[in-house]
Symmetry: C2
Subunit: 384 residues, 2 copies
Amino acid sequence: MQNFEYRNPVKIVFGKGTIGKLSDLITKDKKILLAYGGGSIKKNGVYDQVVKALKGYSVVEFAGIEPNPQYDTCMRAVKVVKDEKIDFILSVGGGSVLDAVKFIAAAAKFEGPESWDILTKNAKIKSAVPLGCVLTLPATGSEMNTNAVISRSKTGEKLAFSSEQVSPVFSILDPETTYSLPESQVANGVVDAFVHVMEQYMTYDVNSPVQDRFAEGILKTLIEEGQKVMTDPKNYEVRANIMWAATMALNGLIGQGVPQDWATHMIGHELTALYNIDHARTLAIIMPAVWKHQRQQKGAKLAQYARRVWDVQTSDDNKAIDAAIQKTIDFFRGLDIPTTLGDVDLTPEDCKKAVEQLRNRGSKLGERGIITAKQVEEIFSLAA
Amino acid sequence: MQNFEYRNPVKIVFGKGTIGKLSDLITKDKKILLAYGGGSIKKNGVYDQVVKALKGYSVVEFAGIEPNPQYDTCMRAVKVVKDEKIDFILSVGGGSVLDAVKFIAAAAKFEGPESWDILTKNAKIKSAVPLGCVLTLPATGSEMNTNAVISRSKTGEKLAFSSEQVSPVFSILDPETTYSLPESQVANGVVDAFVHVMEQYMTYDVNSPVQDRFAEGILKTLIEEGQKVMTDPKNYEVRANIMWAATMALNGLIGQGVPQDWATHMIGHELTALYNIDHARTLAIIMPAVWKHQRQQKGAKLAQYARRVWDVQTSDDNKAIDAAIQKTIDFFRGLDIPTTLGDVDLTPEDCKKAVEQLRNRGSKLGERGIITAKQVEEIFSLAA
């Protein structure tokens, strides 16, 4: 195990009927910006529950945060936060709304010349407006971490930042809020969480059995419950288990003391930025290709994954790895998620611009930093 | 899964050579009480590392905190904290020192007439002196939770309290500090952590696969690494894995949303208070007897434990349960830990006073609250 430092102060309020606790979680003197997306929360009753819980508070609304939240949208919200002297931001929605809120919270207090520097220049965030979350889509793990990803369509960029300052004060996770999600978003969420675990697990062995087994436990849960939710969408227990698994997948815990990969995410972000393909779908397309490309480097862990997560019985590592890759692909396809570039009508040739972006940035991806633009080109070929 | 609320803000600093980070973790203006036990830290170099890291700070020492820390000892330290105007307490040692420090921190700010009320009357703790920890013995999990257990020899009592106010600000976990522990303490620590997991796992099923698999992952790790550490005590990786497993065993995470038992601990505390038997040893004696007594109520989970943790292959639940209980006992005995009352020269008759204590308190133990004094008497018979 490698040395590490870990602290995660987010308060999780988990379970059905917990949105009403908002009034225990935010003091009455706070002026709140209520931030949300395209309005689905108005159809499924979540908006009404939130408004009821916030009765007596001073609330300003900011709607229209889009999937892969845009810098320009965020900056409009920053103006509202400043003009209205907002002192608490409540995100109601999925990871996109919450990521936007994290950026808004940081940008509203940012002292540099341009808030975009937070994303491109890793500018230090000294403070942020306090924020909380009512999560309606289990996927990104943003509800219990310090990360956010923001896009800028005019430059075709999708970039991440991280700061303890934007850690949510609390996150309310009510699995019932997820009943009305479209099937495709549920599937995306399961795959997103699954790949988050993989980015922290499918690397090389550093003798970390607690972290490995926690990762494998989340993977097995996502496989079992992910299959169930497609046929039994109103099953509370299934929804609850997916929601908690997705949070644990990326709250930092399983990644402590172990090497991390993130090549699949970095490559996937380029595809989303260029072709607007859903984040999770880019991951399902890229990850198996990364495994094929890095099969030797990841061999021991792929074989462990085959045996522990998929119960593959063969003693032949190569056969076990083949089986594990195929079972992973089958699992994604069973959720109606594409697993090749062809599935989304792209060719490796179409991805050249993504390769160029990574080359321009001098990217060295993966747990060993050995995946450069040239290797990414090969990975796109393997994803054809 | 049941509804839950979870927050754990402790900063963990994990790994070899991390004691030197103390000066990053405590601001220079703090007057520190350095609290420790019987002086083993002076023999193994930990004391020297701490003193070096705290060069330039104002430090007052308080030594002599005993295993199963005594109320009277703690109250002497409280006087020092008040007289010396201490504003940070650093625990250097194992769970006993840290539990004492938690109580000292709370009692120093306690406004009620008698600090003992914190333990007997569940008196509310409104504030506490901030505290941190350098852990030298993985066992109790106190380094990442809000709990403490304090004893009072004159009344034969051993009682627990819990408060967010006594959550450590940070805990430094350097596995190298554990190299010099006596073998018996290492074994005690492994068993203590193992039973902590069990108290949150071996109950009844509420469909919580993430929590179950995390628990099983910690159990498997403690079994594997616990066996290795006895023959290879200077193996850093083994020490590190035991240390992290023990912390994860009782930092609250695996117990979220699931029923909890704690009967073994409640009964074990009585034996320690009466006969001064090491805490972990009382647990190893009582837990198998609780399982035998509650075999029907815990049957499904015992069978799951048999198959997932011990890889018992039979499809017959009864045989699987028999095997799991025996394998658990064998694991403890392999660590040279007693597993019956006879092993520590006691009879069920000797335990009558413990039964009386529990009867006087009207205890209703276990995840269903159905274990009263009468059942405890039967459990002692099964532990003969």
